[in-house]
């Protein structure tokens, strides 16, 4: 307001004298005339908060209404004129009736509010936890890296009696297609003779296929397939003999060849890892 007066320069003295004192209480003036037109943008029946419509509302006499260009503008109500608005649109049904005490329903209303708040809190905490774990787990290994830890092997490529070697997780993986004779022979081995007793059926899911890690359990060399005295593998470094199931039979190695985790996706495909 003051800045307007300062900027108006030469007009400053004239700008001050525009405060209206509206005399007399309870003299309502009729609001403005309705002009009939095609489109009325404002609803003329709704009273505007302007000097004319407010002039009868205050019970106070004297300068109860002031309007000016660079002074305060407003209507000074007596506090008894102020009507608390009707908030029925926002009330809960139990407190709509002004003639009923609100204490009776206060427990129930509070319980409902707290229940809703509690449920919303639980849901938000769960959502927050999900978001946070998603962001944090984005820092762990990505899918392509994880994919490198598995290998999918097409079994129809391996003829019977042959052993194929694959590179898996940096180590050699032996996949051997066994003959019926070999299967029967391995199943019949007496566990008492074995250094690391394991029955053949405990080392394979499908007896036709033996899948083991090609790492000698002695000192880590790679055994040679279809070699050795037992029809399985032979490690040339220190002379460990393994059978067709990958079990140690002769030589310095203490344990059988390790069997990794694998699953048969179908009869023709196996996923190792």
């Amino acid at each position: 307001m003051m800045s307007v007066a300062a900027r108006s320069g030469a007009f400053f003295p004239y700008m001050q004298a525009t405060a209206f004192a509206v005399p007399g209480p309870l003299k309502a003036l009729v609001p403005g005339v309705v002009i009939k037109g095609d489109q009325i943008l404002l609803n003329p029946k709704k009273t505007f908060l302007c000097r004319e419509s407010l002039s009868g509302q205050s019970a106070k006499t004297g300068p109860a209404v002031t309007v000016s260009i660079n002074g305060n503008g407003g209507v000074r109500f007596a506090h008894t004129d102020i009507r608390v608005p009707d908030f029925s649109d926002y009330r809960r049904p139990e407190v709509l009736d002004p003639n009923k005490s609100s204490q009776d329903s206060s427990e129930a209303r509070r319980a409902f509010s707290y229940l809703l708040t509690g449920a919303a809190t639980v849901v938000s905490i769960y959502a927050a936890k999900t978001v946070v774990t998603q962001f944090v787990s984005s820092m762990s290994a990505s899918a392509d890296v994880l994919a490198m830890s598995k290998i999918e092997i097409k079994l129809s490529d391996i003829p019977e009696g042959k052993n194929m070697t694959f590179k898996w997780r940096g180590k050699p993986l032996f996949v051997r297609h066994r003959t019926e004779k070999e299967i029967a022979a391995e199943a019949a081995v007496n566990l008492m003779e074995l250094r690391d007793p394991q029955h053949d059926k405990d080392r394979v899911i499908n007896p036709t296929w033996v899948i083991v890690l090609g790492v000698c359990t002695h000192l880590g060399c790679v055994p040679i397939a279809n070699a050795g005295d037992f029809g399985g593998y032979y490690c040339p470094c220190h002379g460990s003999h393994y059978d067709a199931s990958g079990r140690i039979r002769k030589g310095p190695a203490p344990l059988n060849l390790e069997v990794p985790y694998y699953e048969f996706a179908d009869d023709d495909t196996v996923m190792v890892g």
Binding site: K60, H79, D81, V84, P98, S101, S102, Q103
Partner: protein
């Protein structure tokens, strides 16, 4: 050492008094002449009679030279409807403008020549007209009272003139911000109900006559007197003058007070030009006849009141008062309880400057939470003593006693003697205070009213959150 000096001094004083030495009798003046227990039991009984038309007459005879006699009527702004809002207040103004038998000047002359005071007040549920006069003028006083109530002249010219006076009085009330604040508190707490009513101005004679005819009925009135009054004489006078009061309602339309809904809400009248902010916060309290009133009054006595003129400084016993001094929180505060027939407002009203509102509100609500959770034996003992002292101390004269009688009969149907108040107050324990305060205050939606430079008053949700403690 000081204590022993005092003991010696008082024994010396007592022994000198016993010897009836005239000079030293003045030493006795500082000591109470009657002990507290004696004052409880020694109060004369309030006698209550009823006339055939339902008018009740109650009096306490104390043999003094003066008396106060008045009519207490259970009607107030709560009984008004929207269209006759303000009729009671207007009528109170019209009452002394003359009766059918005595025009205004004659009425004034009658009262003045007795040397009496004729006053009236209206509140939300009660109206009272009373005269303070000499005991020997009791018959005249009762006659004038009965005329004022039954045959008020209500002529048009006076009505118009009084309208201006009422408006002026309303304007004057605007400057009493405490009244404005508490009025706004009622308006918002009891919004949409008769207890939150505002006053209207364009009332006619017809409205006032209607008001009298529908509310000034004998069963709702009490003729109360205190001082040098004789009960039989009073009953006789009442039979002479007041048995004409009607007890039937037109169309059998007995006005029944329906309960008033309390709404937890707020109303803010911000005006940065005012120097001080008046803020009141209240929850729904107990009704006048509820047994919970006593613990709530004790609780209010624990919070107490304060204003800048209190000399106790940081040694004041109320915790909130001590904080107000130490932290310069406020100019004044008071804990109040307005009890109506079926509801009440239990709250704290404080006056402070624009930069301490947040702190004061925080500590006020903190005081409430303390009451609900951790109030101690010593707090309750102090509150009980303060309350007893206040109850006894305010009955200091025939007019307060008469007012007490009138209001009690209207609220409770009988006068509750001081001994009974004392017994009920003694029965309050810290656990009772905690339980009752939790029932009314803990985790309830308050009503807040604020006037003045109240920018610092925090949002209603914050105020509402301070009505419970997470630690409990």
């Amino acid at each position: 050492m000081a204590a022993s000096v005092c003991r010696v001094g008082s024994t010396v004083g007592r022994s000198l008094v016993k010897s009836r030495s005239p000079i030293l009798l003045s030493l006795r003046r500082g000591q109470a002449s009657v002990s507290y227990a004696q004052s409880l039991l020694g109060a004369p009984e309030t006698r209550l009679t009823a006339l055939d038309n339902g008018l009740r007459i109650a009096s306490e005879e104390t043999g003094q030279a003066t008396c106060t006699v008045g009519l207490w009527i259970s009607v107030g702004s709560r009984y008004e409807r929207e269209k006759n809002n303000g009729a009671g207040f207007f009528l109170e103004h019209m009452a002394f403008k003359g009766t059918k038998k005595h025009p205004q000047s004659a009425l004034e002359q009658q009262v003045e020549s007795m040397g009496a005071h004729l006053s009236a007040y209206t509140s939300r549920e009660h109206t009272a007209y009373y005269i303070k006069a000499l005991s020997k003028d009791l018959p005249k006083a009762v006659e004038l009272l009965s005329e004022v109530v039954q045959s008020c002249s209500l002529n048009e010219a006076d009505i118009e003139q009084q309208r201006g006076v009422v408006l002026r009085e309303l304007e004057e009330v605007e400057s009493n911000l405490q009244e404005v604040c508490l009025d706004l508190l009622h308006a918002t707490a009891y919004q949409g109900t008769p207890l939150g009513h505002r006053t209207q101005q364009n009332l006619t004679r017809h409205d006032l006559v209607d008001y009298i005819n529908s509310h000034y009925k004998a069963p709702r009135m009490v003729l109360a007197a205190a001082g040098g009054v004789n009960h039989e004489e009073l009953v006789g006078l009442a039979t002479d003058h007041l048995s004409g009061l009607s007890f039937e309602y037109e169309g059998d339309a007995v006005p029944v007070l329906s309960p008033c809904r309390f709404t937890g809400s707020e109303i803010r009248m911000r005006d940065d030009a005012l120097p001080l902010a008046h803020i009141a916060i209240a929850v729904e309290g107990a009704s006048a006849a509820s047994p919970d009133i006593i613990p709530l009054m004790v609780a209010n006595a624990i919070i107490g009141s304060y204003d800048l003129t209190y000399g106790g400084g940081k040694h004041l016993s109320s915790r909130l008062a001590r904080l107000s001094v130490e932290e310069n929180l406020c100019h004044s505060f008071q804990a109040f309880h307005s009890a109506y027939s079926d509801t009440g407002l239990l709250g704290i009203h404080f006056v402070t400057d624009r930069n301490n509102i947040d702190d004061m509100m925080h500590w006020s609500q903190n005081a409430w939470m303390n009451l609900c959770t951790t109030v101690t034996e010593s707090d309750v003992a102090r509150g009980k003593n303060a309350l007893k002292a206040a109850l006894v101390g305010q009955l200091n004269g025939t007019t307060p006693v008469c007012d007490d009688i009138g209001r009690h009969i209207l609220n409770y149907g009988r006068r509750i003697p001081l001994a009974e108040w004392d017994a009920r107050i003694d029965a309050v324990t810290p656990k009772i205070v905690r339980d009752i305060c939790s029932k009314y205050i803990y985790d309830k939606c308050p009503a807040v009213a604020a006037v003045g430079p109240i920018e610092q008053l925090s949002d209603y949700n914050r105020v509402r959150s301070a009505m419970y403690w997470l630690r409990f």
